[in-house]
């Protein structure tokens, strides 16, 4: 890279601030390390800057994190790939610090640098680094070592490969649970680079070590690796080695391990093939769906659709569906909620007839659940069922559920249902909406809670988008505008908000004829807060309406407001006037 054309003095300051007392300045300097490097040139970067960084690694975590990140993309500044190895020493020290996020970033950068290095450099520089880390005195180094094996391994000569495998085996049996956890986490990545001849021997023995660990936290992570490992192996090997382990895990004493299995199980189905899935995995999964521990059932219930997608419909109906029925009346609301969030997705899997026969009763019972989250989850996924069986079969039960949620005493529940109203409207159609939901939407505009009113205003806009301005002119705008006479100023403010949102959707004509007059009337309100909101709304209307309207109506209104006794009203009126001028100048 060529000498910089940046001025010298700022560079000098940046360099000095690498050691400033103020952490923000140090951070800034580190973030601009590439600028410093460009100024110093490649050679001095290699010979001075990088060694300097290697030595100064006792900084705050934030600075170290930034340094680890920058060094990952630093190859161009040290002279390209052939010099990439000079970046290893500072990253090596960073990968041994005690703060996990710094270490993880350093390992990520090591991998990024390593993956670009030439094979000979990898053998000469990267492999020794891996060994050093793996033999580190403190667990922090050994933890990091686990994450870089997959970079070093592929290019290493055979003898070194053997050594690396045996080192990893030791890491899987380290005294420190932290190291064993890291080994378990990275096993899949490492295994993907190992020749298949060694997979069955070395890797499986590491895997066995980890799956028999007495620390639950290690076994948990071994479970996570199951699917990744399974996909590397031939199906028959997977059936022979992984399947027994996972089936065993599905009956582990620790609910956390079973929880992991419940989360991962469906991924293994493909790896083992259909027959073992039917004979081994389905029974295991059914057990998990009926587990004693609610947390496990939550995880299992959450994967029910994914699992069924892999199975054929008969198996699903025969084995899984009975469990789903039980879960729909589970004693834990969280289990029912997890089920409700995915069960709608089963409809396309089972097809129309099975859905009507088996799923519909479950939908209906969940829609009447006492726990609002369950009902909400069903409603949020309505579209998936709609495609399969149409909405008619559901709509009878849907309406009471929606109305009840709409009037729930917890405002967060009301907020959640408002978010789904546009979706419902599009699924249920205009007719249904007009009859049943229109009134609710208006009612929310006058809710006691501000967040609800705000969401309601937004909802009105989304409905207008969904059904078009003409429909909105009939079913929304008149009702909304009527509320501008509400005696409470906060409610009037909500209407102003709705107007400003509706205007772009409704277009220039309706805005001028219907919305603008209302806003102009509100400009005469006795409450200053309304008046300065009028100024803001008027400002937002400027790009929508005709220039002539701006001059004839909006500007005079704003001028009047700009002479208001209230300082805030004057401020926003002036701001709006200024934006009129800006628009005029630019046009």
């Amino acid at each position: 890279m060529s000498m910089t054309d940046e001025p010298l003095y700022p560079i000098a300051v940046l360099i000095d601030e690498l050691k400033n007392d103020d952490i923000q300045l140090r951070l800034n300097s580190i973030r601009r390390l590439s600028t410093i490097a460009r100024a110093l040139g490649e050679e001095r970067t290699r010979k001075e800057l990088i060694p300097f960084l290697s030595e100064n690694n006792d900084d705050d975590d934030e600075v170290l994190l930034a340094m680890a990140e920058e060094l990952g993309v630093f190859i161009p500044y040290v002279g390209g790939v052939e010099h990439a190895y000079v970046l290893l020493p500072p990253l090596e020290t960073l990968s041994t610090v005690e703060e996990t996020c710094v270490r993880e970033k350093a390992v990520e950068s090591l991998c990024r640098v390593g993956s670009q290095m030439k094979e000979s450099d990898l053998v000469e520089h990267f492999v020794p680094l891996v060994k050093r880390l793996a033999a580190g005195e403190w667990f922090t180094a050994r933890v990091s070592a686990c994450g870089v094996f997959h970079i070093a391994y592929p290019s290493a000569p055979d003898t070194v490969k053997t050594e690396l495998r045996s080192i990893y085996t030791q890491l899987c049996q380290d005294d420190m649970p932290m190291v064993r956890r890291a080994a378990a986490t990275n096993l899949g990545k490492f295994a993907a680079t190992i020749e298949s001849a060694h997979l069955k021997t070395d890797v499986m023995s590491m895997f066995d070590d980890l799956t028999q660990d007495d620390q639950d936290s290690v076994r948990l992570l071994a479970v996570e690796g199951c699917a990744a490992l399974g996909k590397l192996l031939e199906p028959q090997d997977c059936v022979a080695h992984i399947l027994p382990v996972i089936v065993n895990f599905s009956q582990d004493k620790s609910w956390r391990v079973r929880y992991m299995v419940a989360n991962q199980l469906y991924e293994l189905c493909e790896a083992v093939g259909p027959e073992p899935t039917r004979t081994e995995l389905v029974p295991a999964y059914v057990r998990l769906l009926r587990d004693n521990e609610a947390e496990v059932r939550i995880a299992a219930a959450g994967k029910v659709t994914k699992f069924c997608r892999i199975l054929n419909p008969e198996l699903s109906i025969q084995h899984i569906l009975p469990c789903v029925k039980e879960l729909s009346t589970d004693s834990s609301q969280h289990v029912r909620s997890a089920l409700a969030s995915v069960i709608m997705g089963m409809a396309p899997v089972l097809g129309k007839d099975a859905t009507i026969e088996h799923l519909l009763p479950i939908f209906l019972s969940l829609l009447k659940d006492e726990f609002p989250d369950v009902r909400l989850n069903i409603i949020s996924k309505l579209d998936q069922v709609n495609q399969v069986i149409g909405i008619d079969l559901l709509s009878q039960s849907l309406l009471p559920a929606i109305v009840e949620l709409a009037e729930d005493r917890h405002w967060r529940v009301r907020l959640a249902i408002i978010e789904y109203i546009p979706l419902l409207a599009s699924q249920l159609g205009v007719g249904f909406f007009d009859d049943k939901l229109g009134a609710l939407c208006m009612q929310w505009l006058q809710d006691k809670v501000h967040s609800i009113r705000e969401a309601a205003a937004n909802n009105v806009k989304r409905l207008a988008e969904e059904f078009g301005p003409e429909w909105a002119m009939q079913h929304i705008v008149p009702q909304v505008l009527e509320m501008i006479n509400n005696p409470h100023y906060l409610y009037r403010m909500t209407i102003l908000r709705a107007v400003s949102l509706l205007a772009p959707v409704m277009g220039s004509e309706i805005t001028c004829s219907k919305l603008l007059p209302v806003v102009m009337t509100a400009a005469k309100d006795r409450v200053p807060n309304i008046k300065f909101n009028v100024a803001k709304v008027l400002q937002s209307l400027i790009p929508i309406v005709d220039q002539s309207v701006v001059e004839k109506t909006i500007r005079p209104g704003l001028v009047e407001l700009s002479e208001d006794p209230d300082v805030d009203v004057r401020f926003f009126a002036n701001q709006a006037l200024q934006s009129i001028d800006n628009v005029m100048m630019s046009s």
């Binding site: 000498m3 910089t4 054309d5 001025p7 010298l8 003095y9 560079i11 000098a12 300051v13 360099i15 000095d16 690498l18 050691k19 100024a39 110093l40 040139g41 001075e48 800057l49 300097f52 030595e55 100064n56 006792d58 041994t96 610090v97 005690e98 996990t100 403190w138 667990f139 922090t140 420190m176 649970p177 932290m178 956890r181 007495d214 620390q215 639950d216 936290s217 582990d252 004493k253 620790s254 609910w255 956390r256 004693n292 521990e293 609610a294 947390e295």
Partner: protein, 484 residues
Amino acid sequence: MNGGDDEDVVAAPGEASPPLQWRFSQVFGERSAGEEVQPVDMISAIEFDHSGDHLATGDRGGRVVLFERSDAKHSSGARKDLEETDYPVRQPEFCYKTEFQSHDPAFDYLKSLEIEEKINKIRWCQTANGALYLLSTNDKTIKYWKVQDKKIKKICDINPDPSGAVGNGTVANGVPEANISSLRLPVVVTSHESSPVAKCRRVYPHAHDYHINSISNNSDGETFISADDLRINLWNLEISNQSFNIVDVKPEKMEDLSEVITAAEFHPTHCNMLAYSSSKGSIRLIDLRQSALCDSHSKLFEEPDTAGSKSFFTEIIASVSDIKFAKEGRYLLSRDYMTLKLWDINMDSGPVSTFQVHEYLKPKLCDLYENDSIFDKFECCISGNGLRAATGSYSNLFRVFGVSPGSTETTTLEASRNPMRRHVPVPSRPPRVGSMMGRGSESPGVDGNSNALDYTTKLLHLAWHPNENSIACAAGNSLYMYCA
């Protein structure tokens, strides 16, 4: 009598080792005669780290003081044998390392409550990269501290100051080459002196409605628990904004409350087991594997109901003030107001043995209730080899019991330069008849002394060195250390 040769029981096979001869070894913060103890200086927590090379104390003023072993370290393997055979062992010697302000007084504005800065518990964590880590807690907030020796660094050789650079540096269209090479990286000079610096790494706030009484690390090295009167929470050391409630004994209506959690500790090796004690004198062992919420225990340890007389005080004095697992995790020590009990976690019918600590106070319970002393929470500790246990008492006394079967060792020491001053030789106790009967009445010698007992000087906190016969205990603001 329980057979001493029963292979089930405690460590060290064969006969019980001879009683230890305790010697004074060190004192920190000794009070001179007539000097008044400032409340903020009162030590409120003591803990050795796993290696025994460091000792931490916390005080009512929210400070944590660290001490470091200064005598040359022995090869640790042979050490235990040396002690057993009663060789003269070199005295362990600690020196002051550093101190830091861990907690400050705070005010909970929502509840209009003052939050004291007093350190309730200290627990050491895994060392890494040559730095020490520990958790400290007051009533509400747990903090994770790192203490590291930092070399003093000085920066010199800074680039030329702006005036100079502007003067000759900025030539239009790029900078002359000479100036680029004049850019210099700061040179950092590291001095040989280093000083320990404590840094708060994480704060775990807002998880407890009631006062935290215990914190305990898990053997997995990544989680710990914190317990208050009604709940136990599980934390990940790295995540300070989230914890999981694993035990909740709060009844639906607070009027129904009859029992609170008094202490909780993880099993030293089994990551899934933890024990907690209650104000009703029971200890529950729970298995985190069984379910996410561990409201139902997997084992309950209680003193079997004795037909003996119940009084108004029965329940108060039954309250467990501290529990400690022995090193291997099979035995559990508990302390209530009157006794020290050793439990085998494989035997839930009753304690393996009971040691009377305060028997002589029985007639005085009324007075003790009047002056609130009956609610004092004495801690207990067990030696690394599991052969002996110690616990505190009034008048700055503490007692050491041999807990191995057949041992009759009972020593009373005073936290002073002359620990044996008050010690009246105890006639050998009547042999135990089964474990339920306790250890009979205590020697009249101590009883005779008890008239002079001073309820204001109580020795609540003490810790046993993890692999030596060395005890650190707090008497007011002073830290006394004894070894044998």
